[in-house]
Amino acid sequence: MITTNPFAQLNAQAPDLFTPGLMQAFIILMVLLVIGGTIFDVLHKKSAKYFFENTKKGQKNAKREVSSAERKGLMVKTLTNEVLTSSEFSNQKRRMSHLLTMYGFIIFVATTAIMIFAYPTVADGTPAILPLLWHLGAIMLCVGGYWFWFAIRVDVAAEGNPWYKISYRADMFILSLLATCTFALLWSFTSGMGIFFALFIASTVFLFGGVIWSKFAHMFFKPAAAYEKRVVQADGSNEGLPTVPDLSSSEVHEKFPDIPTYMGKNPPNMGPGIRREPAKHY
């Protein structure tokens, strides 16, 4: 069951209605909705304009020049840390959930597109790995998404609201994402029952069509912002933040005599303070 291509099965069940052309056109429509919605979102919020203006403003406080070789290195570091492992999250639960949903979504969408464009009918003979990955992607989305919905969502984790208290505009993305992966799995496991397929399509359109007010644009501006953060740390402006120097150096002892007086010449690692407890005091 999890090695059968559900789209090929769909074509087999109704070959005149669900032609390969229709399915492929639907995918292209979804892609256009995402591209159009993201561009509209970026223009409407003026986020790109703000980002470049902020970068220029920060460069005024730069203490050194960052070479293009160094910039390339920082870009690679951003890719390997913030993009591939979501290291920007300091809360490890949020990070884990984000990794599950991000990779689950990528695997799910990629295998959907491959199966629809390369193996849309039963006669094409889908290699078993593709439906396996499709189901794996949907399961990862479900695990990460439901964990987020019930425990990690900030309204629940920090504000103490019950999980069923929905905020219409803010929660539509996660709910449509959960609906998409849940109905995809239900549709597949009930061997193509019509109602689950209809709900799957409805939630998919809602998900991709609603990108204007949802989180899709973040996959572009988050890596850009993370790269910019590394660049300002390298050039010394550091967004106006101070850098903590080496506390055992003599220059620091001369400039800030409180440090050697109260902490000694070689202060030890003091361990976590307020971070000893997880944030759970609402």
């Binding site: 900030v154 920090a158 504000e159 101070p242 850098t243 690692n269």
Partner: protein, 160 residues
């Protein structure tokens, strides 16, 4: 002046919501970022500023220590046990870094065990001192500081 959140740096993690003693930092229901719901009630205690892992919250500097429009940003490093400030004037004439210790021993290592500490005596409980005040507040032995003991006189009016 109260705290404000840089919406582009905030990721809605809720650390500030958790730590605010006035319960005035909350998450906006639509855009899912933190904001100060009642700036009038903000004490500028800097709890949210220190707790934010992305340095997304700032307090505007008061005019008594920095001119209007300055960038006043703080980084509290728990593991090194220091707090660092950086003040940049808006015309760029000053870019000033400061550093101070915030602990002399590792966190959690010197919490007194009040079960084993001796009870204050009847005399101590009836006196004007707070618990351990003579030992921890005063630098010398003697009575509490008053204007008279320090040979100061209260004068009427404002002098500066």
């Amino acid at each position: 002046m109260p705290t404000y959140v840089h919406m582009t740096r905030c990721d809605g993690c809720g650390e500030c919501v958790d730590i605010c003693p006035s319960d005035i930092m909350h998450i906006d229901k639509t855009i899912r970022r933190a904001y100060n719901i009642e700036p009038n009630m903000c004490w500028e205690c800097y709890s949210c500023v220190k707790a934010c892992p992305h340095h997304a919250i700032d307090v505007r500097g008061y005019a008594d220590f920095t001119p209007l429009g300055s960038s006043v940003r703080v980084h509290r490093d728990e593991e090194k046990g220091v707090i660092a400030w950086r003040i940049i004037f808006r015309n760029g004439t000053k870019d000033w870094e400061l550093l101070a210790p915030i602990t002399t021993k590792p966190w959690g290592s010197a919490i007194p065990d009040l079960n084993t500490a001796s009870e204050p005596s009847e005399e101590a409980r009836n006196s004007q001192y707070l618990y351990n005040e003579p030992k921890y507040i005063r630098m010398d032995e003697g009575g509490i500081h008053t204007l008279e003991t320090n040979k100061l006189v209260m004068r009427e009016g404002v002098y500066y």
